[in-house]
């Protein structure tokens, strides 16, 4: 069995700021990291690797510095990693990313299973795994919260939580699954373990290497293009209350009464 785990290199969104003076989004200065949701996909792959002697390949589409994210994922227990990069990565949309990952899956594959986290912390589209499945013409399940593979490795049983129900599916491989954080607890790796991953385990590919025409990855050719950003603040009264607990409680109740929240 061969498994591709898609990981995204993302800015730490808690450090992304909007500068009201320049009307600019400060993304580039923010520290970068592996998308947390993809760590759950990595953990699932590592468990399957041990159970089924699967080969696990980390796939990433991102800037050259995303090599550190690939190394981090490989350190969790993958056999190797592949970073697809080029001058086009900066403004790539979800559909463009999916086309590159599908190309990677074909050129490095065939893969029995493609795993990813349900969402990325930056764009939060939750589109790429489903688009990859469509491009590869294989089944897709989003929100996988339980995963069992039969020993032969040509079928998986999954559960997912939807609105008001838990559903289970039997899925024929090859398939694409995106996983929820409820699936498992990702193992942690130390900085030393990440450092010890030799760069020979991280291959770099261009769009052409994975069979994708760069001309199709421009913002104009993309399905979606970001044309503006503005701050998303909601004004609040920010009335500060402090002091003795009994006084504080009285002030809270007064505020709730004033707002008509108490019956």
């Amino acid at each position: 069995m061969r498994i591709l785990v898609c990981v995204k290199h993302v800015p730490d969104t808690t450090e992304v700021r909007f500068d009201p003076a320049t009307q600019e989004l400060r993304v580039r200065q923010a520290p970068t990291k592996i998308n947390n949701y993809d760590e759950n996909a990595m953990e699932a792959a590592v468990v399957l690797r041990q159970a089924l002697k699967a080969e696990v390949v980390v796939g990433c589409v991102g800037p050259s510095e995303a090599a550190k994210t690939v190394k981090e994922a490989v350190a969790m227990g993958a056999d190797r990693g592949v970073l697809v990069t080029g001058p086009w990565v900066g403004e790539l949309d979800a559909a463009g990313t999916a086309s590159v990952i599908a190309g990677l899956a074909r050129s490095e594959g065939p893969f029995d299973l493609v795993l990813a986290g349900d969402v990325s912390e930056d764009g939060y589209h939750s589109l790429v795994p489903g688009l990859v499945a469509t491009a590869l013409s294989v089944p897709f399940v989003r929100g996988v919260s339980a995963l069992d593979s039969d020993s032969g490795g040509d079928l998986v049983s999954v559960e997912r939580q939807v609105d008001g129900a838990v559903e289970s599916y039997s899925v024929t491989l090859p398939a694409v699954l995106s996983v929820s954080t409820a699936l498992n607890t990702p193992r942690t790796v130390t900085k030393l373990q990440v450092m010890k991953v030799p760069m020979s385990k991280v291959a770099t590919r261009s769009a052409a290497d994975v069979g994708v025409d760069e001309a199709r990855l421009t913002p104009d050719a993309a399905a979606t293009r970001l044309v503006g950003v503005r701050p998303a603040a909601t004004p609040r009264s920010n009335e500060v209350v402090t002091g003795e607990p009994d006084d504080v409680v009285a002030q809270i109740i007064a505020r709730l009464e004033q707002a008509g929240v108490l019956a």
């Binding site: 969104t13 992304v16 912390e121 589109l127 399940v141 609105d163 293009r225 044309v227 503005r230 909601t234």
Partner: protein, 281 residues
């Protein structure tokens, strides 16, 4: 432009209709029953058929876990432009654009949708009153994916539609202390929620209690945040609440920037007294 709004029975299409109205007067609502269409592939095939038969170029779907799967598959199938979790649509010199939150809700991004068919998802509310009759459809076969079970789960703690929410975060020292929070919630007639570390790190509660980006988005009359620092991932899930009261020992906690009433204090001092005072009313 012609819009097609898809909902399940029990979902109010109004938010989706209102979202489409600035860009088209031609809005048709179709109700699709879940049975037989559980797999996203099946729903996507049915919706793709409706898009074709109705000549729609804008599809609006509920922003729910089930339709997130459908939206991705439909977008791939139709080579569409997709804006998940949209908050506004507009016709601009860039064509049809969608506004949506980016980077955990720090900014609103305006996205041009550069394909002939656009797929948009947005939050919907539960339907009050009678639902329209579901569209008669023949569930299509799905290759390689078979539903083997479906268990209805308890009513998700009612968090999404609660008019009052009491939520707690890392400042709660032990799982046993959730009883303190529950007692206050009971006194207020509120639902209990929590921040992401309580679910992901502590594993004290399941995902249905989590407020925020990966959990539930709430818009109650009252949101009472106890010992929640206010990471942007949390704020995006509660900042449309009518009245926000936060209790935190750290006067510079980010939650206070999003609060109407910023209570600088220890939840262990305040919560039992507040519960008692409410009970005495």
């Amino acid at each position: 432009m012609s819009a097609l709004v898809i909902v399940e029975p029990g979902q109010d299409p109004q938010n989706l209709v209102a979202l489409a109205q600035p860009v088209t007067d031609a809005v048709e609502v179709v109700v699709l029953a879940v049975a037989g269409l559980e797999a996203g592939e099946a729903t996507a095939e049915v919706v793709a058929g409706l898009v074709s038969s109705r000549g729609a170029d804008l599809v609006l779907l509920p922003a729910t876990p089930r339709f997130a799967e459908v939206a991705a598959l439909l977008t791939g199938r139709l080579d569409a432009a997709c804006a998940p979790d949209a908050i506004a649509l507009a016709m601009t010199p860039d064509g049809l654009t969608a506004d949506r939150l980016l980077y955990g809700g720090v900014v609103v991004g305006t996205v041009a949708l550069q394909r002939p068919v656009r797929v948009v998802t947005a939050v919907v509310k539960p339907l009050e009153g009678a639902a329209a009759a579901p569209e008669a459809v023949t569930p299509p076969a799905v290759a390689g994916k078979t539903l083997t079970g479906r268990t209805e789960t308890a009513a998700e703690g009612g968090l999404a539609n609660a008019e009052r929410v009491v939520a707690f975060g890392r400042a709660l020292r032990s799982q046993d202390d959730i009883a303190l929070v529950q007692a206050l919630a009971d006194a207020l007639g509120a639902a209990v929620g929590c921040s992401r570390p309580i679910v992901d790190d502590n594993k004290w509660l399941d995902l249905s209690y989590q407020v925020g980006l990966t959990g539930t988005t709430v818009r109650p009359q009252l949101y009472l945040a106890l010992g929640i620092s206010g990471q942007i991932q949390h704020l995006v899930g509660m900042r449309d609440s009518t009245l926000i009261v936060a209790v935190n020992t750290n006067p510079s906690a980010p939650i206070f920037e999003a609060s109407d009433l910023s209570v600088v204090g220890d939840l262990y001092q305040i919560v039992p007294r507040l519960t008692a005072a409410l009970a005495a009313r």
